[in-house]
Structure formats: C-alpha cells, structure tokens
Amino acid sequence: MPFLEAVRLALQMIRAQKLKSGFSAIGVFIGVTFLIGAWSIVNGMNRYMTDKFAGTLVGVNTFHLRRRPNVNFNVEDSVWRAWRRRPRIKFADADAVTQGLRVPVVTAWYSEDRGSVEYNGKVAKDITLEGATERYFDIMNLKIADGRAFTPQESKAGTTVVVLGYDLAQKLFPGVNPIGRTVRIHGIPYRVIGVVERQGNLLGISLDKFVVAPALSPIQREVNPPGVVDALIVKANSELEMRDAMDQTEAIMRSRRHLRPRQDDNFVMETSEGVLDFWKKLSRILYVVGPGLVGVALVVGGIVIMNIMLMAVAERTREIGIRKSLGARRRDILRQFLAESAALATVGATLGIGTGIALSLLLKVATPLPAAVSPFSILLGVVVGGGVGIVAGVYPASRASRLDPIAALRQE
C-alpha cells in the first residue's frame, strides 16, 4: 500500500472515531502543549532578563561596588556566612574610589531599606527608602516627571528633601500636587521636591514605590549604620571603560583593605552580567525540569496510544484477515497501523501546538511574564509528537502484521 493511501486511511479512521481518537491523543496533546507553553515562557523570560531586568537593576555600563552580591540565587550557607563577615563599604571607601578612578565615570552612593512614609495621617507601608547622592537619578535613568531632583548642594548638606516614586505619589497625594508638601519618614519631616516618571513593574513587582532622599540626610539612620553605604554605583561611558574602572576599583579597595595577593576580594563589583548569572542558574534548572515533565507526559501519551492501537488491532482482526486474503503483505498491514498511530499522535501534537501558542499569548496578555513562542519549539512539537506515535505504534502494528490470515478471517 502506498504511503499516501495509508495516511488517507488513517485520517479516515480518526474522523470516523472522533471521541476515541481524542482521548487517545490527549497525552501527546498535553505534552506538546506544555512543551510549547513552557518553552515560550522560558524563552520570553530569557529575553526579558537580558533586555530589561539586568538593565533596570544595575544599569548599562554600570557596576555596583558592594559587600556582597545583591542579586543571588541558591547560595550555600557557608558562602552566605562568609559574606556576612565581610566589612561594609564605608563613606571613605566610596570617596577614595571616586577620587582614585582615572577613567571618566559618574558615581553615586546608594543605600536602601524598607519602611513607611506618612503624609497627613496617611501611611504608605513597605516603601523602599533610598539614600543616594544626586547623580543617582542620571545613572539609573530615573527621569523626573514633576518638580526636580536634588542638587549637589542639597546632597552634600543632607537637606531633608525627597523625590517620590510614581505609585507612592499617587497613593499619598491622590488628586493633589505633592510638590512642596511635607511627608514624614520615621517622624522626621521631608519636603517633596519631585516625582519620578512611572517605571512600571518587574516580574509583577512595582518599581514605583520608593522615596529617594540625600544620602547624608537623616534617612541614613534608617537605611544603614553610620558611615556605611550599601553600594557605590559607578557608570562609565563604555563597556571597555567600565572594565578599566572595575580593575582600578579592585586595586583601590584591595589596598585600602590591606589584602594580600593570595587573599580573595572581600567585596564585589556587580554588573548586569553578574545579575544575568543568577538568571542563568535559574533557567538551567527550568531547562532540566521542563523537558522532564514534557517527557513524562509524552511517555504516558505514547502508552495510551499503544493501548488504543492494541485494542484497534484486536477489534479489527477480521479486517486484517480480509486485507491479507486480498493480497496485503505484512509490510502493508504494518504501514497501515503505523500510519494510524502516527496520525493520531500528530493530530494531538498539532492541537497541542495550537493550545500552547494560545496559552503563551494569554500569559503575555494577562501576566507580566513576557512569553515568546519559538519556531523551533513548534517544529520540535510536530517531530516529537509524530515520533511518539510511531514508537507507540510499532508493537501493535507488528502484531497486526503477523496475524495468521485464516485465524483472523475466522474471528467474529
């Protein structure tokens, strides 16, 4: 029997038994749906991480000099304890680095903690309280929507002024212009001088719930012990200059801390690349777990199809006998049943691809997760789905092909 004839026959059989075929293809359907869906989520996350996440947290051509990495994942306890024993970054360290760098850079101090902001009896809780120097806004690309950022003089003097995040401003001052009003942080009054443009969110977490006050203002008592900053942020003009600046920073810090040549750094310089490292670790796990789940679904789907095909062979023994009596060879019967199970699985896979795409589009619309369907995953879905059908069909089909025609014809 020619190949096309076998395929035509298989599709006819599936059409004739829609419900049964639907149930038998459900395993492959789920497997492929998951394959497409999970793949596109990971794929989208990947792009998101590279494009937005790292840039938002660290900034382009920028590094953060810190005691320990800010973004980390699955850190062992011993490493964590070692990090905690490291000395903090002092004002003096930050100044020394800023003075010592021989490439053109822009720097800012930065410290943060969580706390409440109060205005007129209204309290906004769980706000990121940030103490920074004036260039922080430029480096992190925070544009001022209303009012102004603080001046170098205010920064140096530690004036009690604040710039609000968009969401916080909306919450404390609904329908009121916040500029010139006074908010209280831990009882201390600050004058609002500006509001930052809306930043949106990162993985569903709002980036607009913060206040920035000068690092030397009383806010420093809320965010860090005296004389300590979380990070010195250094922004260079290019990647190359950033590398130079990092080398120089490392040298300055090592000498300030009297580290011997064999001793490791007891500080880190975090770049967006470093942040991506964290994502890479996470996605590596997804790349192992995802295919595992898909594999399980496909194996189950294959077993279901094999069972259905064995049943079909038993039900259609007489048909096989008739075909053999009319001159069907073993390979004709084999091909017929293989085509049927492959078609069954391919139909399941095709529906799975459709559902997978729909699912990832839905995710894209309904959640902050950016899902992007990869064309390769569609191809893989078809190939894997059809392959499962063929593998699952081999045993039933070979059983059918080896039936004795006389016995098969005698069956009722």
Partner: protein
Amino acid sequence: MTDLQAFRTGDTPLPDIVILTHKLTRDYDMGGEVVRALRGVSLQIRKNEYVAVMGPSGSGKSTLMNLIGCLDTPTAGEYWLNGQKVSALSDDELARIRNKEIGFVFQTFNLLPRANALHNVELPLIYAGLPTKDRRARAARALARVGLADRMDHRPNELSGGQRQRVAIARALVNEPSILLADEPTGNLDSTTSSELMQVFQDLHHQGQTIVMVTHEHDIAAHAARVVTLRDGVVATDQLRAA
C-alpha cells in the same frame, strides 16, 4: 475419475492445468495431538473448469480451500498454481499470489463495513499498486459487471445479502484472477438469491472463468460441472457431470 495423466514428484504440470495438488498433506498440532486434516490429496483442475468440492464437516474441505487459496502452506506434498510451485513460497510471495491469482468469495461476504462498495472492490488493486484513477475505473467496471453500477457508494449495511455477495464477487474478479475460489457462497443467502448467484457463477464460467466452490449443499453443487468429494482428508469421489 478424470482422464488426466498421473503426476509424479518432480514433474511439471501441463500448461492448461491451473491447479495441481500432489499428495497434499496438512497436519495440525492441537496441543500435542496431531490432527491430520489432509492425508494426501492429488487433484488436477484445468482452465475454465467449474468444480464443486463437497464433503461432510471435518472431511478437510476447508483446509484444502485454504491451501488452494494460498492462505496456508501444506505440511507435505506439492501445490502448483498456473505452472508455478507455490507450496514453498514465503509469506510475501503468497500475498502476491492471493492478490493476482485468486479471487475469494466467502460465506460471510467479508466486506469492510466502513468502506463503500467501490472502495471494497478497489482493495485488491490498492495492494497491486495501481494508481488511483485506474483503480477507480476498474473497480467501477467490475461492479457494473455484477449489475451494481448504481450501488457503488453504498456501504455493505445499505445493501441486501445478494448485493453484498455480488460486491464480493466483483472484488474477487477485479484483478482478473486465475481462479475464483468460493467458500459456501450461498450459505448466508435465501434460496431465490442463491439461485441468482448461481446464475452469476454460471455466466462467469461461460466467459471462461475457472471456479472452485466449496459447498455442502447438493443442489448448489449440482451447478458445477465436476464434483469432488472429500472424506477423512482424502478424495473419495471425483465425478464429471453432464453439463
């Protein structure tokens, strides 16, 4: 007895002998006990003969039928079909012989229930590897030949018993086989339809078709020109009738 010359092992049959069996033996192993269904059947059937095979149940007529139809292979002895020794062929070669040389008509029709008449008749041509267009045309012609030109797109359950059997005959003849092999073809038909069917067989015989028919009904066997009776796995009688 027919007046054919004796066939000896090692001989080749004469050209007009379609079927030649020589000491054909078939044993079945039924759970350790050997059942000797055929114990040396020697038969020669010429081109355009119309032979009825009779015998009580257990006489071996079904076994002989299966062997002649190449659905089974003998334990011992020789079977020549159209000058070709088929008793020692492989499965695939037997499938090819069934496809080209033999047209089966079964008691239970054995049509595919989900396929229409045309597709049922097409089946042997599919396995013969014919292109779709030729298949359609030849199947339609075969159906027209048995008077079912207007029933081509009917499924078996939309046809009467006699019509079904005629679809089966069309299917049996569509590849122009050397022999039409009928196994109790009237077993599931009423007497009127049976005699109609016998008329179809008669016509085919007159057109030159070689027919071998297994039956246990004497009045059906009476339509044949030659009646072979089996008993206990051997040929008991072999008579020519006055046509």
